[in-house]
């Protein structure tokens, strides 16, 4: 399938490049709708591989790449379940997310996250599956999960550790603060900074360079240098579920869902 338009995203293949556009109101929150369509995307990748050199993941939403997991959906779903059902439900959801994110991470073509605005939590974790991050100078990155009594659950810690090392993760994780594109660039997370509104153009210019290379060689180089940290990813799911079982998490989710604070991602 060379193009697809769903409720949360769409993709289009053209001249060896796939553009995957996230487009779910208000800010590409990742819940069941987004996950289901990401699964469809991953299922479609196989047929496109022989004629694909690169993929750009981009957001059509004004406020940013993605605000992260759909916490309203998570809270509303979890609130109707028993504790046992809640835990098995969240584990199953994380299992599906990890399968999709691992597939994007290991895709045998070069992936670029073209990021603007907020790139928080699960959205940040999606960007981290990509090989190259290009960021609008107004982009902001954060792992705000600790405010809920949780850790990032979509593979963010192992992937950021793989890419950058431990100190930058500790700063983001343990303070919950957001950092701008300049800081993320200095840390090595962002490869290129784009002027405001230019991130997609910069990402396309990058793919125009990438498609000049032999796709088999690029895929081999990527496989050699970018191992998936499977063991740590599995441990992350276990730890997330262990923390999720505590009653404080549901209370924190409720507080977030009902919050009208200017910075609801901070405690």
């Amino acid at each position: 399938m060379k193009s697809f338009t769903g409720k949360a995203l769409r993709w289009e293949w053209r001249d060896g490049v796939i553009e995957l556009t996230l487009d779910r109101e208000p800010a590409n929150e990742i819940g069941l709708a987004m996950l289901g369509e990401l699964e469809q995307f991953v299922a479609a990748i196989g047929a496109l591989v022989p004629e694909t050199s690169a993929c750009i993941i981009y957001s059509e939403r004004r406020h940013g790449f993605s605000a992260g997991a759909d916490l309203r959906e998570l809270y509303q779903t979890a609130a109707q379940l028993t504790e046992k059902e809640r835990l098995s439900g969240v584990r199953a959801f994380l299992g599906r997310i990890h399968a999709v994110f691992n597939a994007i991470d290991a895709a045998p073509f070069t992936t670029i996250a073209a990021v603007h605005g907020v790139c928080f939590g699960g959205g940040f974790e999606l960007a981290l599956t990509c090989d190259i991050v290009v960021a609008d100078k107004m982009a902001r990155f954060a792992f705000p999960e600790l405010r809920l009594g949780l850790i990032p659950g979509f593979g963010g810690i192992p992937r950021l550790k793989r890419d950058l090392g431990n100190a930058f993760i500790r700063d983001l994780l343990l303070t919950g603060r957001s950092v701008n594109a300049t800081r993320a660039h200095a840390a090595g997370l962002v490869a290129q900074i784009a002027a405001e509104g230019e991130v997609l153009r910069i990402a396309r210019a990058t793919t125009a360079q990438i498609v000049k290379f032999d796709a088999v060689t690029s895929a081999a180089a990527k496989k050699f240098i970018k191992p998936i940290p499977h063991e740590e990813l599995c441990r992350e799911i276990d730890l997330f579920c262990e923390l999720f079982a505590r009653p404080t998490v549901m209370a924190a989710l409720k507080k977030f869902v009902e919050s009208t604070d200017a910075m609801p991602y901070l405690p």
Partner: protein, 80 residues
């Protein structure tokens, strides 16, 4: 080195320009949430603009609970 007054004026000018509020209609003691009518995502935009303009990092937790331009400028001033 900027004075606090200069920093405050630059914050007001930046907010006025970005949120398309008439220049001179904002005062240091104004509550910027009320005056600009901004939500949480726009607050992050403003934070990015301030960081880019002043060439600093301003952790979110330092501006959490701050609602007037003068205090915001003082937080920035301490990082210049």
């Amino acid at each position: 080195m900027r004075t606090l007054e200069q920093t405050t004026q630059e914050v007001l000018d930046l907010a006025s320009k970005h949120f398309k509020v008439p220049a001179g209609s904002l005062a240091p003691e104004d509550d910027f949430f009320k005056k600009l009518g901004i939500d949480s995502l726009q607050t992050l935009e403003m934070l990015s603009r301030l960081e880019n303009h002043f060439g600093i990092e301003l952790p979110d937790y330092e501006v959490q609970g701050v609602s007037d331009f003068r205090t915001l400028a003082a937080r920035i001033q301490s990082r210049l």
